[in-house]
């Protein structure tokens, strides 16, 4: 899931203080799980803005709402007419949601209420870890199910660097050495011999380096077009 962190309140206040009618708009999927931007957090932020506005003597109408997903139009379409009555939407969805809503809302600005961090796992309540970097060319079958791109600080492909130290990375004692984890896991699986194969320089064009990415499922598009023809 997408992991986000709420922006400091001061930053949020500076974004919203010049608007008269503000909607704090939560997304109840990923960012709700990481307690950053679900409907509940949107309600809390809206309340904090109202308290601050009253303190500063700024007349401001602040409401909140939450929908299941900001990244698919059918979820926010039913609320769109109401959303368009506001001067500003402070979206607490991830950056995807902010972009997506902003493209569709017309002349109303959509500002971010959270910082989108990464997509990660939840090893325990309140802890979120980055395990995959979404590089577009998965090699987890070669590395014991542990990703060297996300878990090695240098994204090395052929073993650890000299900075590995008793299973930890040189950047911090808090960070495990990704390659140490890979080797230990492959020992456990009895597949260490796979590591003798040299990985060639990687083609990063499938990752962010190749520019904004897009996946198109042609068969689904064809079905959609057929449906549209039938309707018309």
């Amino acid at each position: 899931m997408i992991v986000g962190k709420q922006k400091p309140f001061e930053e949020i206040w500076n974004m919203v203080k010049d608007f008269k009618k503000v909607l704090v708009y939560g997304c109840n999927t990923c960012v709700a799980i990481c307690h950053a931007g679900g409907g509940k957090e949107a309600e809390i932020i809206a309340s904090m803005i109202r308290i601050k506005a009253a303190e500063e003597g700024v007349p401001m109408e602040v409401k909140h709402a939450g929908i299941e997903r900001h990244c698919e139009p059918e979820y926010f379409e039913p609320l769109m007419e109401e959303v368009k009555t506001y001067d500003l939407v402070l979206s607490t969805a991830c950056g995807v949601g902010v972009n997506f809503l902003s493209e569709r809302i017309g002349n109303i600005p959509v500002y971010p209420g959270i910082n989108t961090e990464f997509f990660g796992a939840v090893p325990q309540a309140g802890v979120f870890t980055e395990l995959c970097a979404g590089c577009g060319n998965c090699i987890l079958h070669l590395t014991g199910g542990i990703c060297p791109i996300a878990r090695c600080s240098k994204s090395l492909m052929n073993g650890p660097c000299g900075g590995t130290n008793k299973g930890k990375c040189e950047i911090s004692q808090e960070v495990d050495c990704g390659w140490y984890l890979i080797v230990e896991r492959m020992k456990q699986l009895g597949t260490v011999d796979k590591l003798y194969a040299i990985q060639q320089p990687r083609n990063w064009s499938t990752a962010r380096d190749g520019g904004p990415r897009r996946v198109v499922l042609a068969h689904i598009q064809d079905l959609e077009e057929e449906e549209a023809k039938k309707e018309s």
């Binding site: 309140f9 001061e10 509940k40 809390i44 309340s47 109202r50 308290i51 303190e55």
Partner: protein
Amino acid sequence: MDKLAESAEQRSPGSHGLAGAESERSSIEKPREIPQDWEPNILAFACHYCAFAAADLAGVMRLSYPPNVKVVRLPCTGKLDYIHVLRAFERGVDGVFAAG
């Protein structure tokens, strides 16, 4: 003086360490002078099974408590949410007391 207070002192010389740290965080509410005859408006959230029962018993015993305290009964204080506290502050309550 602990390290936090020391660093706050360096950032805002002359002010009290903790107050300096507070202003760095810029709380939502501005500190104000408190008038001498001011009485805070307190809202108490009480658990049905213990604190509220105790308040009930106090009533049966004809004990009185100040009228600036209002009690809201909850099925359990586990029901108390951030937003209940924030809504109380929005409506002008000065302090919230959770008992359970």
